[in-house]
């Protein structure tokens, strides 16, 4: 998942709840469909969504490059282990599901996701659920993707500078430590912004 891409397309302006349900239907629907041609059709639909969203070409290239790499790897493994048909089906499912999730995050502000969740969860308040906490949780989860990729990039760079770019330990240990440290710091920052206080 990548971050929000500012825009004024119909998809950017569509209600968050509608987009969210649409994303869920597509992402789960492709796992119900068993014919590669049908799943391929869904992929084309998602592709059309990118065109409607008028996302920058450079951005689309970056997303499709990473997605194609993973899909190709999965395709090769499935073909080798199962069959050609299974390879098409599984990799197209992945492309459709990740593609639509990415389209959602690219056209929806996290702030809108947080507000929608808070609104949707409001009736649960009587059962002791705190909608603001649920919204914050969703927001932080989406934000964590870019934060963790930033930390991973910095750790990888540091390992490379020390000639340890192929060492799993040189990546995993500092990545874990920095992630935990970030979680501590973020908790403190949230407390400083009054998020620890009961509304």
């Amino acid at each position: 998942m990548t971050g929000y891409q500012p825009g004024t397309s119909p998809l950017h302006r569509a209600p968050t709840g509608v987009k969210f349900v649409g994303m869920l239907v597509i992402a789960t629907g492709v796992f119900v469909l068993s014919a590669p041609t049908w799943v391929g059709g869904v992929c084309l639909l998602v592709l059309a969504g990118y065109a409607v969203a008028r996302l920058p070409l450079r951005y689309c290239w970056r997303v499709s490059r990473s997605l194609a790499l993973i899909a190709l790897l999965l395709f090769a493994v499935q073909w080798w282990l199962v069959s050609l048909d299974a390879a098409w089906l599984v990799s197209l499912r992945l492309v459709a599901a990740v593609g639509v999730a990415n389209l959602f995050t690219a056209t929806t502000r996290v702030d809108d996701v947080v507000s929608s969740i808070e609104r949707a969860a409001a009736p649960l308040r009587r059962f002791g659920v705190r909608p603001d906490r649920l919204g914050l949780l969703a927001g932080l989860t989406m934000q964590a993707v870019s934060t963790l990729s930033l930390i991973a990039g910095q750790v990888r760079e540091a390992a490379k500078a020390r000639g340890a770019d192929r060492s799993v330990i040189a990546f995993a240990v500092p990545f874990l430590v920095r992630t935990l440290r970030h979680a501590d710091d973020l908790g403190e920052a949230l407390a400083a912004r009054g998020e620890d206080d009961r509304a």
Partner: protein, 224 residues
């Protein structure tokens, strides 16, 4: 007004602050001291991020350990690493996030955030991914995220540590222009010329408390 009344703090067996008693009515106050001198811990007691194990801190007569919510409405806190303070993906959303507990509508929150970002030279960055701003811009964003709630006091814990000289000066220039009382924890002694009061801490004790020049002279002598 901020007050410390016989304040002490220990992390387990390690004592980091002892018997700090101060009243801070000045507009610009700085804490300086070597690493581990207790200055960051002392700053954190002001808005209740750390609850002292002895004595108390007071903000306008309120104890942050008991009235945390009320105190945090009055006191904003800026940390040294701006990356750790960014909660939302874009600059505009991050500033607006501070207002989410207010009665303002979403549109008003976004407008207020955009207004403040523009005031701090970050106009046009509202939709920019916050983590990909420059170090100086990120620290200004952290400052905006605190100032948008219009606190009376701003506590900054080594906010210039990760900034280059130009960004450091720009940041301090912004601090100087604020109407709020500013409590700054720093190692950058040359930034304190225009402060009203500088308090030097050493091993958890206040060892100097004066105008910048004599206080910093004392500090330089202390660290050799």
């Amino acid at each position: 007004m901020i007050e410390f009344d016989g304040l002490g703090h220990s992390y387990g067996d390690r004592r980091v602050l002892s018997g700090v008693t101060l009243r801070l009515p000045e507009r610009r106050v700085a804490f300086v001291g070597a690493n581990g001198s207790g200055k960051s811990t002392l700053a954190r007691t002001i808005n209740g991020l750390v609850h002292p194990t002895e004595g108390r801190a007071l903000v306008d007569g309120l104890d942050p350990a008991r009235d945390g919510r009320a105190v945090r409405r009055r006191v904003g806190f800026v940390f040294s690493n701006p990356d750790s303070q960014i909660v939302m993906p874009t600059a505009g959303e991050d500033v607006a996030f501070s207002l989410r507990r207010t009665t303002l509508s979403k549109k008003e929150r976004a407008a207020r955030a955009a207004e403040l970002l523009a005031e701090f030279g970050l106009d046009g960055y509202a939709d920019h991914p916050a983590h990909y701003l420059s170090g100086g811009q990120k620290q200004l964003l952290a400052l905006c995220a605190m100032l948008v709630t219009e606190p009376d006091v701003l506590v900054c814990d080594e906010p210039t540590t990760l900034l280059d000289l130009r960004n450091k000066r720009q940041f301090v220039h912004r601090l100087e222009a604020l109407r709020q009382q500013v409590v700054l924890v720093t190692h950058d002694l040359d930034l304190l010329e225009r402060f009203d009061r500088v308090i030097v801490l050493d091993e958890g004790h206040v060892v100097a408390d004066d105008r910048p020049e004599p206080a910093l002279r004392h500090y330089r002598k202390l660290v050799g």
